[in-house]
C-alpha cells in the first residue's frame, strides 16, 4: 500500500493473470501458481515445500497403508522384537491416512487462495490490493483462520479422531488376549465376527451385553431424572422460602458440587463398606439393624445405592441451574398470574415449570448423554461390582455400565475387540442426542453456517 511496497512490484501494470491458467497451475502442483503467476514467493514456497515433503514420503505412505490392510503376517520363527507389530501398523496406518487428509485439505486451501488472489488482481487491476505484504503481516491477517484453527484441528485430529477411528476399526479385528496380542502375535481383520458373537453367538456374552445395555439406559434415565427432580425441588423450595437462614442452607447444599467427585465417591465407598463401614456401624449402634446391610455387594441394592449416591453428588448442579433460570424469568408474568388469582403452586405448575423445563432441556439431554458415559460414578463407588453369574467369563459386574465395562475389557481383560463393539454401540446411542442438540442451536436455525 505504501510507496515502498508499490516500488518493489516491477510488474505492477502488467495484465492480470489468466484465471484458468492460475487454476490449472495451482492444481498441478501446490504453490506453483503462487510462485509463477501471482508473485507470492514465500507463500508459494511454503505450499510447495509441503507438497515436496509429501511426495518424498510417498513410499512411506504406500507402505503404511499397505500394512494397514495386511496388518502383517505371523512370523513365529523370528525373535519377538523383530516380528511385525500389527498394533503399530494399525495406528500408523490411520495416522498416515489422517495426515493425508490434512494434506488434501491444505491442497484445497492453496487452490482456493490462488483463485482468490487471481480474482482480486483481475478486479483491482493491480497487485497492490493485499498481495504485496510481508509474509508476517500475511500470517497475522489473511492466514489467521488457518493459523488460529490449526492447533485445535491438529490436536483433535491426532488425539481424538485417530484414536476413535482406531477403536472403531478394532471392532473388526481379533485384537484380544491371549492369542492375538502384539508383538508376540499378529492382529487380523475378521469382519463382523465380533458383532455376530456378541449379538447372538455365545450365550454368556449376549446375555451380559443385554444386561449391561439395559442397565446403562435405566441408569442414565434414573441418574438424570433424580438429579434434575431433586435439584428442581431444592431450588423451588429455597426460592420460595422466606427463612432468614436460607443462605446458610444454600451454602451447605452446594458442598457436593464443590467437593471433587472422586473424593466424595471414595469417601462414600468406604462409609458404605459392608463389613466395617461407618453406615452399618452407625445403624448397629442405634439398634436399627442387627446384621450388616450389603450396600454394595447385593446386585439390586448396589444399583439403588449408586443412583442414590449419584443424586447426592449431582443435585446441586441442577439446583444452581434451575435457580439461575428461575431468576431470569420475568417477574411481570408471575405478577400477572397473581393478580388473576393464581396461588403459588399454580404459578409454579403452569408458568415457572414449563419455562424452566424448556430452557434447561438441552442441558438435560447433555446430562443424559453424560450419564451414559458416567464412568466415575460407577468406577469409584462400586467398581462395577458385585459379581453376578456371568461376571467370571464376561468381566461385567452387577452395576457395570457400558463405559466401565469397556474400561475393564481394555485394562483388565485385554478384550479390545469386544470393548470396541461396545464403543460403537455407545456412539450409536449418543450421536443422535448430540445432533438433536446441534439442530436446536441458534446458529444452525438461522442458517448462517
Amino acid at each position: 500500500m505504501t510507496a515502498a511496497q508499490a516500488a518493489v512490484s516491477p510488474r505492477e501494470t502488467a495484465a492480470p493473470p489468466d484465471e484458468r491458467q492460475v487454476l490449472r497451475r495451482s492444481m498441478a502442483f501446490k504453490g506453483l501458481a503462487h510462485l509463477t503467476l501471482l508473485g507470492q514467493r514465500s507463500k508459494g514456497a511454503a505450499f510447495a515445500a509441503v507438497e515436496i515433503v509429501a511426495l518424498a514420503s510417498l513410499p512411506l505412505i504406500v507402505r503404511k497403508v499397505t500394512e494397514l490392510v495386511t496388518l502383517g503376517s505371523p512370523m513365529p520363527e523370528i525373535p519377538v522384537r523383530f516380528r511385525p507389530n500389527s498394533l503399530f501398523m494399525l495406528i500408523d496406518g490411520i495416522t498416515v491416512l489422517a495426515a493425508l487428509g490434512v494434506f488434501v485439505l491444505l491442497y484445497a486451501v492453496s487452490v482456493a487462495s490462488a483463485r482468490r488472489i487471481a480474482r482480486e488482481m483481475t478486479v483491482l487491476g493491480s497487485r497492490e490490493s493485499s498481495v504485496r505484504r510481508s509474509p508476517f503481516a500475511d500470517l497475522a491477517n489473511r492466514a489467521f483462520p488457518l493459523v488460529g484453527l490449526a492447533p485445535t484441528f491438529l490436536l483433535i485430529m491426532f488425539f481424538v479422531v485417530v484414536p476413535l477411528v482406531f477403536s472403531a476399526l478394532v471392532a473388526f479385528t481379533n485384537y484380544s488376549s491371549p492369542s492375538n496380542i502384539p508383538p508376540g502375535a499378529t492382529i487380523d481383520w475378521v469382519g463382523f465376527e465380533n458383532f455376530q458373537r456378541l449379538f447372538g453367538g455365545s450365550a454368556a456374552g449376549t446375555s451380559a451385553l443385554a444386561r449391561v445395555f439395559g442397565w446403562t439406559i435405566v441408569w442414565a434415565l434414573l441418574a438424570t431424572g433424580t438429579c434434575y427432580f431433586g435439584g428442581m425441588v431444592m431450588a423451588v423450595v429455597m426460592q420460595n422460602s422466606s427463612l432468614r437462614i436460607t443462605p446458610f442452607f444454600r451454602a451447605v447444599f452446594i458442598l457436593p458440587y464443590a467437593i471433587p467427585g472422586v473424593v466424595s465417591l471414595l469417601v462414600w465407598r468406604n462409609l458404605l463398606n459392608g463389613a466395617f463401614g461407618t453406615v452399618n456401624r452407625t445403624l448397629e449402634a442405634m439398634h436399627l439393624i442387627s446384621d450388616p446391610i450389603p450396600w454394595l455387594s447385593d446386585p439390586w441394592l448396589a444399583k439403588f445405592v449408586v443412583v442414590a449416591i449419584n443424586l447426592w453428588c449431582g443435585f446441586p448442579y441442577f439446583m444452581l441451574l434451575v435457580t439461575g433460570t428461575m431468576t431470569s424469568i420475568s417477574q411481570d408474568i408471575v405478577e400477572a398470574a397473581k393478580i388473576d388469582g393464581a396461588n403459588s403452586f399454580q404459578i409454579f405448575r403452569r408458568i415457572q415449570a414449563p419455562i424452566i423445563l424448556y430452557q434447561t432441556m438441552p442441558l438435560i439431554i447433555m446430562s443424559f448423554a453424560a450419564n451414559i458415559n458416567n464412568f466415575g460414578a460407577i468406577f469409584f463407588l462400586s467398581g462395577g461390582d458385585p459379581s453376578v453369574s456371568d461376571s467370571v467369563t464376561t468381566g461385567a459386574g452387577g452395576t457395570d455400565i457400558m463405559v466401565s465395562w469397556i474400561y475393564k475389557l481394555t485394562v483388565d481383560l485385554q478384550q479390545y475387540q469386544n470393548a470396541s463393539v461396545l464403543a460403537i454401540m455407545i456412539f450409536l446411542i449418543i450421536a443422535p442426542f448430540a445432533i438433536f442438540n446441534f439442530r436446536r442451536t441458534k446458529s444452525f436455525k438461522e442458517g448462517e453456517l
Binding site: 479422531v161 427463612l243 442452607f249 464443590a258 473424593v263 461407618t278 447426592w312 393478580i339 430452557q359
Partner: protein, 302 residues
C-alpha cells in the same frame, strides 16, 4: 424457626381475599408449613453434611482404616499426625506440584486455542465449517478413554509417555471440541459491528483477535479457566496410563493409592483429600453467583 412469620399477615387474613389477591393462609397452617419446610431442609442438610463431617473427622482422628473410625465423629481424640505423615512420608507435595503444573498448562492451552479457533469459526467463512462444528459436538459426547490404546501409542511415538506435557496434550485435545464450541456460541451473540469497524480502520485479524475479541469474550474465558483448571485434579484414567514414574504422579493417583484394595489408609486419604478439597470449596462458594449466571446463560442461549 416457626417464629419467623411476618406478624402483619396474621390479622390481615380476613381482608386479603376480598382484594382479589391470593387468600392468606391461617396462622396455624403457616406455622405448620414453616416447620415442615425447616424439617425438610434440615434433613437434606444432614444427608449432605454427614459424609463430609465424617471425612473431616477421619483426617483428625488417630488410627488408620475406616474400621477404626468412631460412629460419632470427633469422639476419639484429635491429631494432626496424618497431615504430617502425608506431607513428609509420602510424595504428596510433589503430586500437588505436578497436578498444579498440568492444570496450569491445560488451562492456558485451552483458553488460547479455544478462543482463537472460536474467533475463526465465528467470523470467517470456511469450507466444511458446518460439518466441522457438527463433528466437534459429536466428538464431545464420546468418552475419550475409549481410544486410550491408540493415544498410548501416539504418545509413545512422540516421546510423550511419562511426561507431564504428554498428559497435557491429551487433556487439551479432550477439552477443545466442547470449549471451542462454547466460545464460538458466545462470540456469535456479540455484534460483528465491533470488529468490522476495526477492520475498516485497517486492523489485521490477529490485532482484532487480541484487542477486541479477547476482551469481549472475557466472561466466557474466565468460566473456561475455572472449568479446565479443575478438571485435571481428579482425573484418574489418563494419569494412570501416561505417568509411570513415582515422582510424576498426580494427586488423584496418589490419593487412590491410599485406599486401594490391598490396604486402607482412610485417615491419610482423608487428610490428603481435605487439603485439595478446601481450596475448591472456598472457591466454589465464592464464585457461586457467577457459576449460576454462567450455567443459566448456557441454558438460555440455545
Amino acid at each position: 424457626m416457626s417464629a419467623h412469620i411476618d406478624p402483619a399477615s396474621a390479622p390481615d387474613r380476613a381482608g386479603s381475599a376480598v382484594a382479589g389477591r391470593t387468600p392468606e393462609l391461617p396462622w396455624l397452617v403457616r406455622a405448620v408449613n414453616t416447620s415442615v419446610l425447616v424439617l425438610f431442609l434440615c434433613l437434606v442438610a444432614l444427608a449432605v453434611l454427614w459424609p463430609v463431617v465424617h471425612m473431616v473427622a477421619a483426617a483428625f482422628t488417630p488410627g488408620q482404616s475406616i474400621s477404626n473410625m468412631p460412629v460419632v465423629p470427633f469422639t476419639e481424640g484429635l491429631t494432626t499426625e496424618h497431615f504430617v505423615h502425608v506431607f513428609t512420608q509420602t510424595q504428596y507435595p510433589r503430586w500437588f506440584l505436578n497436578t498444579f503444573l498440568i492444570a496450569v498448562m491445560t488451562t492456558a492451552g485451552t483458553v488460547l486455542f479455544a478462543s482463537m479457533g472460536a474467533y475463526v469459526l465465528s467470523r470467517f467463512t470456511l469450507p466444511f465449517k458446518q460439518s466441522f462444528l457438527m463433528s466437534l459436538l459429536i466428538l464431545n459426547v464420546f468418552p475419550s478413554f475409549v481410544g486410550m490404546v491408540a493415544i498410548y501409542v501416539v504418545l509413545l511415538r512422540i516421546g510423550g509417555l511419562d511426561q507431564l506435557w504428554g498428559l497435557v496434550l491429551v487433556y487439551l485435545a479432550g477439552n477443545l471440541p466442547y470449549t471451542t464450541w462454547m466460545v464460538k456460541s458466545y462470540l456469535d451473540n456479540i455484534p460483528r459491528s465491533l470488529d468490522e469497524a476495526a477492520r475498516l480502520d485497517g486492523a489485521s485479524s490477529f490485532r482484532i483477535y487480541r484487542s477486541i475479541i479477547l476482551p469481549v469474550a472475557r466472561p466466557i474465558l474466565v468460566f473456561l479457566t475455572i472449568t479446565s483448571f479443575t478438571l485435571p485434579w481428579m482425573d484418574f484414567i489418563f494419569p494412570k496410563m501416561v505417568l509411570r514414574s513415582p515422582e510424576k504422579q498426580t494427586i488423584a493417583l496418589g490419593l487412590m493409592s491410599f485406599v486401594s484394595d490391598k490396604h486402607n489408609f482412610f485417615t491419610n486419604f482423608a487428610a490428603g483429600a481435605l487439603v485439595v478439597a478446601i481450596p475448591f470449596i472456598i472457591f466454589f462458594v465464592l464464585t457461586q453467583k457467577m457459576l449460576v449466571s454462567s450455567l443459566a446463560g448456557s441454558a438460555v442461549k440455545e
